[in-house]
Amino acid sequence: MTAFWFPAWPRSRVAILRTALYLFVVVDVLWATGFVAPHGDVPGGLYQPLFIGRVLPLPTPTPLLVAGIQVVLVVAALVAAAGRLPRVAGWLVFALYLEWMVIAFSYGKVDHDRFGFLVALAVLPTVGLARWGDDERDERAGWALRAIQVAVVATYFLAAWAKLRYGGLEWVNGSTLTRAIVRRGTFLSDPLLDVPVVLQATQYGIIAFELASPLLLVPGRWGRRMLALAVAFHLVTFASITIIFLPHVMCLLAFLPLEKIRAVGSGWKPPQFDRTNDQREARAASTMRRTARPKAASTAGGRPAAKSSRNDRSWST
């Protein structure tokens, strides 16, 4: 249990993930979740605060409040993305992004793609200083990454539960996807309205995928396959009904050995997780001939990867 929740993973993995997620906060606030900022101009009579907004209690959004939060949030996210003030900037981003979400979802519709991202924003500040290229293994980094991974898996797995809770068996046997396509179909998905059996089979496939999501936590091949399936699932969903759970998709990065991206310092080398290398390294490991590692994996950014171990080569170690 301790080994699962507190793996010693490289700090550089957190550092790179942190840069990606904090930069995404900027993209999200200014563009991807663009419906939030206009809420400041929506009459307060349409504001129906969520439980958390009533308990705290958070103020009814105004143009000034929304603009103020937007500016401070973007600045704090940029500071955090640069790796500066990881705790202060990180906590500020978490608090303001949570308030941003309350403003987003207090007008009659709650989205369900934020849990993993909010967990990520909550745990990233706890790692403290972590720099690109710092391959020191650290249980704090491991716990943060594991927490994000579990939040992602929980989102998929509990989404299957919610479908059964709200839709029952009718969710898989009824016209669930027909409804989605009638409401938000694209030229790619509209023709499927004429073949309901395909849509119904897809409904079974979605539930199966969500129930199988804990495989994401399995190291090695199965974890990688599940990750590829998850990415494919989101792309097909976008092509079919123009919905993509971007904050959640960003959290899938927590399953990758991001430290293999060595853009820092001298020259950039592509990440080394192609199949050929995996197979060669597996052979090398099995014969315990550590000196027989492929050259590409033994050097990174011009420096020897002295702290690499076999675990580094898995996408979800």
């Binding site: 301790t2 519709k109 709650v110 849990f115 927490a147 539960w161 409401r183």
Partner: protein, 143 residues
């Protein structure tokens, strides 16, 4: 990591997971971020109906227009989420009118506004007919 650091993290993990499980079992959207992950959890019977709401309005010039939800600073699902309130008290639609005027200061004034449902009926999973129903209506008072 210190033993204290590990204990705090373990306790926080347990609290969040338990709250999340409770939210999924008994919670609702209102309990964000611990509510159930109910994206696309609603279903439709193969022989049933699919409803999509729309906002219709009449201008002072007598023209009937359809107002895209984005022109009110809202998403369609947000308007749909408030339909139970609008049904109970159609006077609340005045807020939609105010939003329209705020986001379109130069547009002609509205004298009527209504939320309508476009209903597609399904038979064995195929769309067989369409109809429209008014769910709530507002009209400007006085001359």
């Amino acid at each position: 990591m210190t033993a204290r650091g590990r204990s705090i993290r373990a306790a926080a993990t347990a609290c969040v997971l338990l709250t999340l499980l409770a939210g999924s079992a008994w919670g609702e959207d209102d309990h964000f971020p611990f509510g159930p992950f109910r994206m696309f959890s609603r279903t439709t019977k193969s022989t049933g109906r699919v409803t999509a709401s729309r906002i219709e309005a009449v201008t002072t010039e007598g023209r009937t227009i359809t107002i895209a939800d984005a022109r009110l600073g809202l998403r369609r699902a947000e308007v749909e989420g408030q339909i139970p309130r609008f049904r109970r008290d159609p006077a609340l639609l005045r807020h939609l009118v105010a939003a329209y005027e705020r986001f379109q200061p130069d547009a002609p004034e509205l004298v009527e506004l209504r939320v309508v449902n476009d209903i597609s009926r399904l038979t064995d999973g195929r769309v067989t007919s369409h109809e429209t129903r008014v769910v709530a209506a507002w009209a400007r008072e006085g001359p």
